[in-house]
């Protein structure tokens, strides 16, 4: 019923935690920069654009990795609804990792803004200069950001539920604990853990 023998691959785990930190930072940067008139507005904005592009680049890498290596299966005893929620929320997370930076980039293009990453580095526009397109994308960027934040909260809650309540190895499969100990712990019900295991 459990997946103790299966962990996410090391690159997948590194990318997961790196992007978790970046995406959370990005959500807070975005929310903060539009809500202040202080100089935080300036430096948060300067951070927002290169960080967004970095997330987009890593999302591409992550999707390729995900397609190349199947993630560990979900525990067999999960209810169908839970299983559906798990899969749907993961694909939603992936979709938003791509959508938010792309919508942001297109939004700046439509607003006629130079898409500067700092130090004179500039991206080409990916949408026509059009105020109505800007308005739509600006709304969408914010709506998707709130959707992403809500999904991240759900994801966090679900991960902790797996780790603290179900204790089914799902959280483990994304953390740094070694596989040997997973196996040892799983087997401890039938045989004692030997020193040096």
């Amino acid at each position: 019923m459990n997946r103790d023998h299966e962990m996410f691959s090391l690159p997948a785990r590194v990318l997961h935690w790196l992007m978790a930190a970046m995406i959370l930072t990005m959500l807070f940067v975005g929310a903060g920069m539009v809500a202040t008139v202080s100089d935080k507005h300036t430096w948060l904005l300067a951070l927002h654009k290169p960080l967004g592009i970095a997330i987009l680049a890593l999302a591409v890498l992550r999707l390729l990795l995900r397609l190349a290596r199947k993630p560990p299966p979900l525990p067999a005893d999960m209810a169908p609804l839970q299983r559906f929620a798990a899969l749907a929320s993961h694909w939603l997370l992936y979709a938003l990792m791509f959508a938010l930076p792309l919508v942001g980039w297109a939004m700046l293009s439509a607003g006629g803004y130079p898409v500067s990453l700092g130090a004179g580095v500039q991206l080409p526009p990916i949408a026509p200069f059009d105020a109505s397109v800007f308005a739509t994308l600006r709304w969408l960027h914010r709506a998707l950001a709130y959707l992403l934040f809500a999904t991240v909260l759900m994801h966090l809650g679900a991960a902790l539920y797996h780790g603290l309540i179900r204790r089914d190895g799902v959280l483990r499969s994304m953390t740094w604990r070694g596989r040997a100990r997973e196996v040892a712990t799983a087997d401890s019900q039938t045989r004692p853990v030997v020193p040096g295991d």
Partner: protein, 364 residues
């Protein structure tokens, strides 16, 4: 080997965890703490913070809601031209537009205030915004005003000034007592008031000088930063007799007449600060003996209506700068940037809802 961690230890899911209530509480706490932190950063849980929304709401309250129009400097006219650089500023800034040669410019002359139907003679201040677009796509945007100093130095004081200028429900005009109290409480406005005292509304956009007001840095090819302020000085003949308070729609027509007989010109002058000159206080001018660079000429060739012209959908955010120009520590700069962005968001969404044009209104 240490004992197995009780957290997420793989077991049958059917075996209940010890103290499940505490564990549920831990999950609820983690999720709500993250949500609360977000709420704080996003503003709602931080009631003391001055937000762009408050600034723009107040501008909107003072000028009236005019969907599709700028929340400040709502009445204006688009202009098209170029900047002819003579190369003299290139030693101080590596921005490509300061190399000798021409850079295309989309500009906008405007009046302060949020009413796009305000009388031209109602206020003595005019503004001039410029967007320079370099061949590499980088831009320099600047919004200048026809006074050499700004009334206040901080966003908070500007917000208070706006509140003091709110129309009195009884008269529809700002309450003079509130304005008097504001100025009394803000001695830093003295330089601006001295300038404004005998100032008459100009009969032409073309005969005004326009000041960048805030300090910036020019960054040269070696990476050295030079604190600067800039202004444009008109080279378009003497000023005519000023307007009276009731003169309507004079300035745009007068501009068209002038442009019919040839381009208009302003010299772009850049003042270099000496050590110790304030870069964070737009209420103070730098001493008159500071070194000045004549960087070239802004040439305006034609005008367009603001409802359909190229400047309509440009946000003249003063912090959109090319490599070679950087913002200073002036606290008004991020505040302008943040508030302009919110104003732009509002008017573009109103414009989108109205099918791509500013909604038509009947002038009051």
């Amino acid at each position: 080997m240490p004992p197995p961690d009780p957290i997420d230890t793989a077991r049958s899911a059917s075996s209940p965890p010890p103290k499940p209530l505490g564990r549920w509480a831990l999950i609820a706490f983690a999720v709500s703490a993250l949500a609360a932190a977000f709420g704080y950063v996003a503003g709602p849980l931080d009631p003391n913070r001055l937000t762009p929304k408050q600034v723009v709401d107040t501008l909107q309250n003072n000028g009236g809601l005019h969907p599709g129009y700028r929340r400040n400097h709502a009445k204006g006219v688009c202009v098209i031209g170029r900047f002819d650089s003579n190369g003299q500023a290139a030693a101080y800034s590596k921005a490509a537009l300061f190399a000798p040669g021409a850079t295309p410019v989309v500009g906008r002359f405007a009046l302060p205030g949020g009413n796009p139907y305000a009388p031209d003679g109602g206020v003595p201040i005019r503004s001039f915004a410029l967007r320079f677009t370099q061949a590499d796509g980088q831009q320099w945007r600047t919004g200048m005003n026809s006074m050499p100093v700004f009334p206040v130095a901080t966003p908070q004081a500007f917000f208070e000034q706006l509140q003091a200028g709110a129309p009195d429900p009884a008269t529809g005009k700002p309450d003079p007592a509130k304005q008097k109290a504001f100025f009394a409480a803000h001695p830093e406005t003295a330089a601006f008031r001295a300038w404004a005292k005998d100032r008459k509304p100009s009969a032409s956009y073309a005969t005004e000088a326009y000041y960048g007001l805030n300090a910036f840095y020019f960054v040269d090819a070696g990476g050295a930063r030079h604190a600067v302020r800039w202004r444009v000085m008109p080279d378009n003949g003497a000023a005519a007799a000023p307007l009276s308070a009731q003169d309507h729609d004079v300035l745009a027509r007068e501009l068209d007449q002038r442009l019919a007989s040839g381009p208009l010109r302003w010299r772009l002058l850049v003042t270099l600060a000496a050590a110790g000159d304030p870069t964070d206080d737009a209420t103070r001018v730098w001493p008159a003996d500071r070194k000045e660079i004549d960087a070239g000429t802004v040439v305006i060739e034609r005008a367009q209506s603001q409802d359909a012209g190229e400047c309509r959908d440009i946000n003249y955010d003063p912090l959109i700068l090319p490599d070679g120009i950087a913002g200073s520590d002036d606290p008004l700069l991020p505040a302008r940037s943040a508030a302009y962005a919110d104003s732009y968001r509002r008017r573009t969404s109103e414009q989108a809802r109205a099918g791509g044009r500013p909604p038509q209104e009947t002038p009051r």
